[in-house]
Symmetry: C2
Subunit: 326 residues, 2 copies
C-alpha cells in the first residue's frame, strides 16, 4: 500500500507521447498494490492505470502477465487490457523501471461480499479458466505445493510466536499434503489470488477481474479452492455454505467439474489455506518495526485450514456430487 | 503519504446518496496527503475528491478551510470547491470521521518549476490574497513567529544531531526575528503552504491551487516569502533570481506591494525559512524506525535561511524598489 517511485510530469509526458491515448490531464499515486507503484491517470481520452514494476516482480514474468490480460480480454473476459504504444509495445520503461499502461476498469470491490457476489465470482472464474485454455505462454506456480516447504522452513523456528503449536500443526499438514496432492487434475491458467479486492462490481454486476500478477499454470480446481477460502467465510470465521453453494454452482454452470475434481476440493482447500497461512506468517514475522503497513492476520487462515480438515466431502460445501467422471 | 482509513463501498454509497453527483463508479485511495485520507472518486457525473479528516486536523478548523475554498472559488480563484449535499451541507461524517467531497481539479504539479510556472504562481497568489479580503471567517496562524519558540524548545536539545551549531544558529535567529518581526504590514487570508505540489498546471497554464489546510490569517507578504523559498531555489540550492523576479513581478501586477512590504521581504523570507526548518527538524528527529515515509530534509531550509541572511534588500531578489508608501 504505497507508491514506491514518484514520476515527474515531464517524464510521464514523454512516456505517454509514445501512446495514442490523448493529453495528460492528471495522475495520482494509488495507495494499493504492495508489489508495484500504481497511478491513476486522466487523459483527454479517459482514465488509465500506470504500473511501475518494482523489484519484487520478476521482469521476465511481465510478458506472461500482460499477454494473459490481453488474451483474456480478447476472449470476452472483463479484465484490464494493456494499452500498446504506436509501435505495438505493451511494456516500456519509466523512471528506470519496467512500466505499462492498462485500461482503467470502473467498479468497486465488495468489502462485505454477498451471495450474489459469490455467484458472480464463481461464474467469472470458470469463464476465465476456459478462456485461458488456448493461451500459449506458461508460468510455473512458485507458491504451489512444492513451494510451501521452503516457506515453512523459513518461518518454522518462530511459528509458535504466532500461535502455540503452529509449527507442529503445519509440519504434519505439509507431510499430508505433499503425499496426497493430486497430479492428474485438469490444469491451465489460474488467477491464484482472486480475493474480493481483485474483483470489481458495479452494484451486483461484476465489472472486472484485476491484478493478474500471481497468475500461473496450475490445477484449475485449486483456483476454485482459493476462492472458497477468500469469499465464503464470514468476519466471525464461520463458513457460509450458502455462499459456497452459490460460488460452486455458478462455476459448474460454465465449466463442468469432474468427479475427481469435486472429490479433491477439500484437499485443495486445505492446500490453499496452508499457502496463505504460510505467506502471511512470513510477512507477520518480518514486519519492520514502525511500518505503516499492517500485515494480514495469519490466524484467519489457520481457522480456515481447521475447517477444511473437518470436511468429509464436497457435500459439506453445499453441493451434491454429480457430473461426469474425469 | 498514506490512506489511514479504508471505506467500504457500501458506506461510501450511503454517504454519496446524500449528494446529487451521480452513481458511484470507482474510488481509489490516493498516496498523498500526510494529514488526511484522500480518495479519487469516479461517478456517472465526473471525478471528485473525498477527504476524511484524521486526528491531526482540528475539526473546528474545517468550516474555515471549506468555507474559504468555496469563497475563493466564487471569487474566480481556480481551487477545489466543496460539494454540498442536497441539504446544503459541505461537511459530513464517514467511517467515523469528518468527511467532505470536493471538486477534482485536473492538472499536474511541476516537479521542475520553470520561470513561466513561477510567474503564474505569483499572479495566482496575489489574486488569492485579493479574493480573500472579504472572507469573513478568521483563523490564527499557529506556525507564525509566536509559534516558532515552542517548536525550537522541542527540538533544541537534539538540534545538533542534524547539523553541528544548528541550535546556536536558530537561537540567535529566533531572538532576531522575534524582535524585528513586523506588526503593521497588510494582513489577510494566506495559503501558507503554496509549494509546487499544491499548484496544478496543464502545460504552462495554472489550473488550480489546492490543499488549503494550512490557510490562516497572517501578513500577506509572508505568503509571498514562503513562495520565494518554495519556488525560486534550484536543486543545487542556488537562488534563481530570474524565477524570483518573475514571481514577484507577476504578484505586483495583480496587487501592489507597499514600500514597507518590499523592505520587509528579506526578513519575512528568513522567517519563512525558519518556520520550515523548524517543522522539518521536528519531523526529522521524530521519524519512527522503519517508517516508509522519508521526512523532508531540514538542511535545505538551513541553506535558504543563510541565503536570506546575506540579502541586503529586495533588489537582491531581482526587483527594483518602487510603488507607493504603505
Amino acid at each position: 500500500m504505497a507508491v514506491y517511485t514518484d514520476v515527474s510530469a515531464e517524464e510521464l509526458g514523454d512516456f505517454l507521447a509514445r501512446y495514442d491515448i490523448g493529453e495528460l490531464l492528471s495522475y495520482k499515486g494509488i495507495a494499493e498494490g504492495v508489489e508495484n507503484s500504481n497511478f491513476l491517470i486522466h487523459t483527454s481520452r479517459g482514465s488509465y492505470f500506470l504500473t511501475l514494476y518494482e523489484k519484487r516482480v520478476a521482469v521476465g514474468d511481465l510478458p506472461f502477465f500482460l499477454g494473459l490480460m490481453a488474451h483474456l480480454a480478447e476472449h470476452g473476459i472483463t479484465c484490464p487490457q494493456p494499452v500498446r504504444t504506436r509501435a505495438g509495445e505493451a511494456l516500456g520503461t519509466l523512471a528506470g523501471r519496467p512500466a505499462a499502461i492498462i485500461d482503467f476498469l470502473e467498479g468497486v470491490w465488495p468489502r462485505r461480499p454477498s451471495v450474489v457476489h459469490c455467484a458472480a465470482v464463481g461464474g467469472a472464474l470458470a469463464k476465465m479458466h476456459l478462456a485461458g485454455q488456448d493461451f500459449a505462454m506458461r508460468r510455473a506456480n512458485a507458491l504451489s505445493v512444492a513451494g510451501w516447504r521452503p516457506l515453512f522452513d523459513a518461518m518454522a523456528p518462530r511459528a509458535d510466536e504466532i500461535q502455540r503449536g503452529l509449527r507442529d500443526l503445519l509440519a504434519a499438514e505439509l507431510d499430508f499434503l505433499e503425499g496426497a496432492w493430486p497430479t492428474a487434475l485438469p490444469a491451465g491458467v489460474i488467477h491464484a489470488d482472486l480475493f474480493p479486492d481483485n474483483v470489481l462490481f458495479l452494484g451486483e454486476r461484476l465489472s472486472g477481474l484485476i491484478d493478474f500478477y500471481f497468475a500461473c499454470n496450475d490445477i484449475l480446481a485449486y483456483d476454485l479452492a482459493i476462492c472458497l477460502n477468500a469469499w465464503c467465510f464470514e468476519p466471525d470465521h464461520a463458513f457460509n455454505v450458502t455462499k459456497a453453494r452459490a460460488l460452486l454452482n455458478a462455476y459448474c454452470r460454465e465449466r463442468d467439474l469432474s468427479v475427481e475434481e469435486q472429490e479433491a476440493l477439500p484437499l485443495l482447500a486445505r492446500g490453499a489455506a496452508v499457502r496463505f497461512l504460510l505467506t502471511r506468517s512470513v510477512d507477520w514475522l518480518n514486519v519492520p518495526p514502525g511500518a505503516l503497513v499492517k500485515p494480514k492476520d495469519p490466524m484467519e487462515y489457520l481457522r480456515k485450514l481447521r475447517f477444511h480438515q473437518s470436511v468429509a466431502s464436497v457435500r459439506d460445501y453445499g453441493v451434491e456430487l454429480s457430473g461426469r467422471a474425469g
